[in-house]
Symmetry: C2
Subunit: 128 residues, 2 copies
DNA sequence: ATTGACTTTGACGTAAAAGTCAAACTTTTG
DNA sequence: CAAAAGTTTGACTTTTACGTCAAAGTCAAT
């Protein structure tokens, strides 16, 4: 327990390059420890990387991901800031709901494409 | 009916720039008519643009969008091609399902953030 | 003690998807 | 008819998110 992960261990697990992880560090998303100059990743870093990659998959920019991490690390205490944050959260949710609808619609279409393929294959199958 | 849309009409409707629509034409996604040099968009073009933008929102590249349009315009007839297409469709579906799950998870998190904000605001509200 | 695997920084390159700007042409409207 | 508004092509620029070396350092194992 309390294991360290090497950079290549994580690149293999997540299918990203070392360049990507170093880029995320440069961008201030992760802060692995060091032994000398070598990066040592803890499981907290690993979990954070998982969240970063999830954000990436749904199309968040680095800046947006950084912002989200920031909110978790140090949530605002002042009421104006809190209201602003809630507004931003609302906007993000609307965006994500739209995106989910887009995905559902597209999944429907892909179903249709697949069916059309099967139908066509059956037709061909009969005639060969 | 059978109305023409001007390029700026569509840019305003969809919140994109003229550059974007011309770019989509250069990329072979749309083929508006011309009167002289001026582009004239029909409602079929308009609908296609809507689909393109939906693809964009869910993170499809131009190449992927072009591919999808291509399949609709002229579906493959040969069984090897059909099977290949079905495989690609399956992959896309897996990808979209993952993305959907990512979105749901993130929506959950945003709910938590909002609740935390409300709680904090209530605390502050009491003390002011 | 050298081979091989892994890691570092730093610099430069790249692909995708537009943004920006210039110079010219058309169309509409006051 | 003259100005304003809209449109065109073409060229160059920008941003994001890394990729791709190069040159050097570290570490384990043979």
């Amino acid at each position: 327990m309390n294991k360290y992960y090497s950079i290549t261990e994580l690149t293999r697990e997540f299918g990203v390059s070392t360049r990507t992880l170093r880029f995320y560090e440069d961008e201030g998303l992760i802060h692995p420890e060091r032994r000398g100059r070598t990066r040592l990743f803890r499981s907290a870093d690993r979990r954070l990387i998982m969240e970063i990659l999830r954000g990436r998959r749904i199309g968040f920019t680095i800046a947006e991901i950084r912002e989200i991490i920031q909110v978790y690390k140090d949530p605002p205490g002042e009421s104006g800031q809190l209201r602003l944050l809630m507004k931003r959260v609302e906007e993000k949710r609307d965006e994500l709901r739209q995106k989910r609808k887009d995905i559902d619609d597209t999944l429907e279409e892909l179903n249709n494409v697949e069916e059309a393929c099967l139908t066509r294959l059956a037709e061909i199958g009969v005639s060969t």
